[in-house]
């Protein structure tokens, strides 16, 4: 299986960091091999069509935005 890519889109505010922490926790809990990237470039965020940060993308597909979701929810989204 190729490495999974989990991206956090957000300017780096408190909420975005919280989402990143939750994502890291989810990945380590699942014990999977995943690359976690925090995208803080505003232009890149806009190009993805995201208007409310923090957002989360798995393998390039947006799965959540505008909210900090819990590690459990992220685990579910990753497994889908």
């Amino acid at each position: 299986m190729s490495t999974m890519k989990v991206e956090i889109l957000g300017s780096g505010c408190k909420k975005c960091q919280q989402l990143e922490n939750n994502a890291r926790e989810a990945v380590s809990h699942l014990g999977i091999d995943a690359e976690i990237v925090h995208i803080s470039d505003q232009m890149e965020i806009v190009k993805r069509g995201v208007m409310s940060t923090p957002a989360l993308a798995v393998n390039g597909k947006l799965v959540s935005r505008g909210q900090v979701i819990s590690s459990e929810q992220i685990q579910q989204l990753i497994q889908q």
């Binding site: 957000g10 965020i45 806009v46 069509g49 995201v50 208007m51 940060t53 799965v63 505008g66």
Partner: protein
């Protein structure tokens, strides 16, 4: 109307007078009662309201909102934008993607501003604190004046045709993105089951509660000390109706305090009890939420300083006017 919070009042009085045996009229008794009454009341409201708002917000993601108001004419659009701003989620760090997202979907500049003013100003934490500390009437007045200001300031920016002061790359991006941004499947993605919405509400409660409760408790503790010990004429002298500069000073003090509104409003409650006019408090609250310094810095990326200055000036004048108007009406 029966007082919803009577049980909290009763319990606090019982604890102070019966359990501790302290007179409610003494300095210490008054302070203790203030603290024991306000903390559970505000925290209860915070939990209830952030749960309801958390659920409401799952219906009003900004991505959806821009489609609703995208094709509305100016003014109608301003009104709608101001109203939906009440319940949509907003974090000042998403101001830039939101701003660009709205403009690229064809939302007029002035309408975008109405939303940018209303969304942060009428947020659930501010509403809860105003309701818990100053009552429902004050809260409704705050919401309607806040939305009114968002509509008026946004409409003015629309009339002034200030598009030239938006950084050019925003318009470039808009051209490049036309037809690309909508992405129907994105809206599909946002469909949620009721169970998900409830979970969202629940999560919202824990997040807000965790980040806000220390400020609430700390603020109420300071407020309690002021309530019990600081003489009223001192407050009257500083911030009373006799000081014509109290409103602008409150606005200037409010701008850098964005994150701490939960700690600062309980202090103002005690100040109001001592004679500080309510309009001054409303102005202050609006300044804290609508004119946060970090948001201005973030917006500078997409707005030329001229437009940013006009935006700040319009909102500041509006807030000060609301404060004076209020103090005048209630005097």
């Amino acid at each position: 109307m029966p007082d919803l919070f009577y049980p909290f009042d009763w319990l606090a009085s019982q604890i102070v007078s019966r359990l501790f045996g302290i007179s409610l009229d003494s300095h210490l008794g008054a302070s203790l009662h203030f603290f024991l009454y306000d903390v559970p009341k505000v925290l209860t409201l915070l939990i209830t309201i952030s749960f309801i708002v958390g659920i409401l917000q799952t219906f009003l993601q900004p991505e959806r909102v821009r489609y609703w108001i995208g094709d509305k004419r100016s003014f109608i659009g301003n009104i709608l934008a101001g109203m939906v701003g009440i319940v949509t989620p907003f974090c000042s760090c998403s101001a830039v993607p939101l701003f660009i997202g709205f403009l690229s979907a064809g939302v007029p500049l002035g309408v975008t501003f109405s939303y940018l003013i209303s969304a942060p100003m009428v947020n659930e934490v501010a509403v809860v604190l105003l309701w818990g500390l100053f009552g429902l009437k004050v809260t409704l007045i705050y919401i309607s004046f806040g939305v009114g200001l968002a509509i008026a300031a946004g409409y003015a920016i629309g009339l002034l045709k200030l598009e030239k002061w938006v950084e050019p790359f925003v318009w470039e991006l808009q051209k490049g993105n036309q037809g690309q941004i909508p992405a129907e499947n994105d809206l599909e993605m946002m469909k949620m089951t009721w169970k998900q919405r409830f979970l969202r509400g629940q999560y919202q409660v824990t997040e807000i509660f965790k980040s806000v409760w220390p400020y609430v408790v700390g603020g109420i503790a300071i407020g309690a000390i002021i309530h019990g010990y600081v003489p009223a004429d001192l407050i009257m002298q500083w911030a009373g109706a006799g000081n014509p500069l109290a409103v602008p000073i409150a606005v200037i003090l409010g701008v850098p305090l964005y994150a701490n509104i939960a700690g600062v409003l309980p202090i103002t409650e005690a100040l109001v009890n001592k004679g500080m006019p309510l309009g001054t408090v409303l102005s202050f609250t609006m300044a804290v939420t609508a004119l946060s310094f970090p948001e201005m810095v973030i917006l500078r990326k997409v707005l030329r300083s001229q437009l940013l200055a006009i935006f700040i000036a319009l909102v500041t004048i509006g807030i000060i006017a609301i404060g004076y108007l209020f103090n005048f009406l209630l005097a």
